[in-house]
Subunit: 521 residues, 2 copies
């Protein structure tokens, strides 16, 4: 009977149980429900086993060789720029003590991934690279460093994969720590962002700049009490997505600001411009009385002077609506946005939003120091996934064939029983540092071997057959032109390969494609 | 009174509580103990706050710029070799669905890091790169790929940092998946290991080779029942750390094998050699009757023939004691060990043990496929941390100065008020792709600027002062030779820098050091 029940279809089981449920006395109900639950669990497990489809966790992704080729091109552009500016590189663990991350991200702390308590320390996956950097400086008593760090970070956010928002994503961080004269490293950060976005050819971009001190000054001058500063700040940050009317309503309705205060704020935060605007605000009686705002404005003026020397002021917009979420910023803040796509194919990605964000955070390192010793820092983080999704679209649209390997020579044979000869030849190429492949078959067809070259973009085939063996030569074939030369199969044949590789037109054309997309590790 | 107690020293608090404990009636005991615990907790919290020392989690480490320079040199050597053999690159998430890892690591599963259940899927940090690779193949129905993957993996193991054993560590994996003729890709894997270990100049090494089928055949021929095969296997694996006597005792005592069976096994697993040994075993009546062992031995013979063609057979040892822990291996297995250190300074690292391990696993991908479709795979994993700890020791012992940046030019000024001029000059260098730095000070001393060049190995200083400004030139100074030339400060001055960089002796010498240790990203 119980055996029958176990093999019965779910509907039957349910029916049988329901009958039992109504027919039997009350004290049997619990037992029956228990059995029902058991059956349910069993059915689910069996179904689970049947339908286990291998997949990546929600909000994460694998990268195929083709995607990796594009990613490594982006990374190499960014790293070259970081190195051009004299940066060192560091690395830190993927998880930190939970305590290290506590109290650094405000409301966003709920998005932190915690590890299960399996005994020992409590750990969390890093949320960004800035807090680990500050921890690293404090732990090693470093007061001066210019470093970059490229690594994955983790946020239990709502993923929007099409817009490049993931739960696991890569950040490219550049920061300058140490006592410097005002705005010199800050200006260099903006110069680097400008260089990188230009080099990546993502279309037109704009770097918005503001200063937390100016923002605080504006709020104070407009009569916002200290306690409501952060709230007002985060509402202002929505100005790029909402109209001023809506922002004002939120300020007055939800955040409880006085309508007049909101109106005053509105006069300021809708301003954007350049040196003119800075001068104008420096003359503003309400703002100039505020110590913080005055400092911020004078520094902003200095920054613009430096940016003019760097020749990048045309892409910079002093924008009083820029506030930025994270609350560790203490001075200049900035954000780079793509404002237009030149390529028609990727128009839907206009909305990709900010691709770089950063600013000055002079207090963060001190939070980790036992004596609260401050190390002033300024830096930025490049959101590589958004950039990558644009590059990916571009690559797909252009239909340009992307090479995922760098193989230069395929060692091939036209007849059977030449595996040993192929192995000896390829070994000589490898030992000479030449990138070479052979098919993993004892007797592959010549056509198959030549097709493999064409499919994967290998420019040269080194062919050894009966005739070649007899003559003591190797035949070198330019895959694109089908031109063939014979070279002596002695030690010098490797040099023959090298010469031919230099001449090969196919090689040049594939070098061209490599130039755009080769990996640079 | 209670206020007093709260501020009292712990000893006093304890004394007071003890007195209360003995003086008061029993029903107050609970209350008193409660208060005591409260005090204890309070004191601990206060102490905790005071003594929060920023640190990395147990078994993990940060990498400083100097360490990163060495690491990137190692990575670049490895990656160059992988590319020379035509490998593509992929990447996968740092965590997988827990289900993906379940049942793949046998006993070692207890070392897997789980993430906290914060709602949604159950996740675990990857334990190696092989299982994610198999999951990737099955998920994307890929039946043919040669790829490498370099990434961190996680094991809740007992860390032994001095021997390069960490909880977070980097693996460099290379695998060939797909239907191939026997032993061709297997031989290439060994060739690659040979190339990499030679290129890294870690001293002498040996690659031990065996085959799971031969091992199974040996056990079967010696009368070990199927059920005790895995246990016998893992005991044999200890032969490199224990004497045969101890291994035998464990087999008989703990694993319950018959003493005669153990003796028979002993005759085999202490054998090591080359083609001779393979021939000898192929003649062995007990082994040759076993189907699996016969297959394994014939493949081993083929493998040795291929390795001779590749010219690497002198570093290969057919070693019947090699068993390897992971149970997904189905054919050839191998392990590379460093057998001697040439450099006296790092003698203590002789014991570093295996640095590469791998083998054939033809069943793993099928475990992820709904139709159990198999994809034959062979590959290996390089334990980079052990290699890195040796390289690190070498670097420290050699006292060679390691450059952590690639900066070519420092833009300097000998007088005050030349910040603007420096900024304009450096901007031109950056735009021309030259790696340049300047000090982040308005008016740094010239000596300080030149010392910075010497400290960080910058070969060239571009100096702009009053005289230079008047004459419309820039002074280029070779930091090592102190030779100076003047070049017109027009557009062409950048070319002057490039010319000087080519000539610079300091540049050449630092290029030399870079050649050994520059990062190659």
């Amino acid at each position: 009977m119980s055996g029958l029940r176990r093999t019965a279809a779910p509907a039957w089981t349910l029916l049988r149980a329901l009958r039992a449920f109504s027919a039997r006395p009350r004290d049997r109900i619990v037992e029956t429900v228990g059995k029902l639950l058991q059956t349910k669990a069993q059915l689910e497990t069996e179904e689970g086993k049947k339908s286990f489809v291998p997949k990546t966790p929600k909000g994460t992704q694998d990268f195929s060789p083709k995607q990796m080729a594009i990613r490594e091109k982006v990374f190499s552009t960014i790293i070259n720029c970081f190195k051009r500016h004299g940066a060192e590189v560091i690395d830190t663990p993927v998880f930190e003590l939970t305590e290290t991350l506590t109290g650094k991200y405000g409301e966003d702390s709920k998005l932190i991934y915690d590890l299960k308590d399996q005994g020992g320390e409590l750990l969390s996956l890093r949320y960004d690279l800035t807090v680990p950097f500050a921890r690293y400086l404090a732990m090693n008593k470093i007061t001066n460093i210019k470093r970059y760090h490229i690594a994955k970070v983790y946020r239990r956010d709502n993923p929007v994969m099409t817009r490049g928002r993931y739960r696991e994503f890569c950040q490219c961080d550049f920061d300058i720590a140490g006592q410097c004269d005002p705005m010199i490293p800050d200006a260099e950060c903006l110069k680097i962002i400008h260089e990188i976005l230009s080099a990546l050819q993502l279309g037109n971009f704009l770097i918005k700049v503001n200063d937390r001190r100016i923002l605080s000054g504006v709020f104070a001058a407009c009569g916002v009490p200290e306690s409501k500063l952060q709230a007002a700040c985060s509402t202002v940050d929505k100005l790029n997505k909402m109209t001023w009317e809506d922002v004002k309503n939120e300020m007055v309705g939800e955040k409880g600001l006085a309508p007049e205060a909101a109106d005053h704020i509105g006069e300021y935060v809708q301003l954007r411009g350049g040196l003119d605007l800075i001068e104008q605000l420096l003359q503003d009686p309400r703002l100039s009385q505020n110590k913080l705002a005055g400092e911020g404005l004078r520094d902003m003026k200095l920054l613009f002077e430096y940016l003019m020397l760097f020749g990048i002021v045309d892409k910079i917009s002093f924008d009083l609506s820029l506030a930025r979420g994270l609350n560790y910023y203490t001075g200049v803040i900035y954000e780079a946005v793509l404002i237009q796509q030149q390529n028609d194919h990727v128009k839907e990605l206009v909305d990709v939003g900010s691709v770089v964000g950063g600013g000055r955070y002079d207090g963060l390192v001190g939070m980790f120091d036992s004596k609260k010793k401050k190390v002033p820092c300024v830096g930025f983080s490049i959101g590589i996934e958004r950039i990558f999704s644009i590059m990916n679209c571009k690559a797909e649209a252009s239909k340009e064939k992307i090479r995922t390997t760098e193989t230069q020579v395929l060692v091939a044979a036209p007849q059977k029983h030449f595996l040993a000869a192929r192995m000896k030849l390829i070994s000589e190429l490898w030992d000479a540092g030449i990138k070479a492949e052979m098919l993993y078959r004892e007797n592959p067809k010549l056509l198959k071997q030549l097709h493999y070259c064409e499919d994967t973009g290998i420019p040269l085939a080194a062919i050894i057959g009966e005739q070649e063996l007899k003559d003591g030569v190797v035949k070198l074939r330019d895959v694109a032109t089908r031109q063939e030369v014979r070279t002596l199969a002695c030690q010098s044949w490797v040099r023959g390969v090298q010469r031919m590789l230099q001449k090969s037109t196919y090689c040049k054309s594939s070098k061209h494609s490599l130039g755009l997309l080769r990996s640079s590790w």
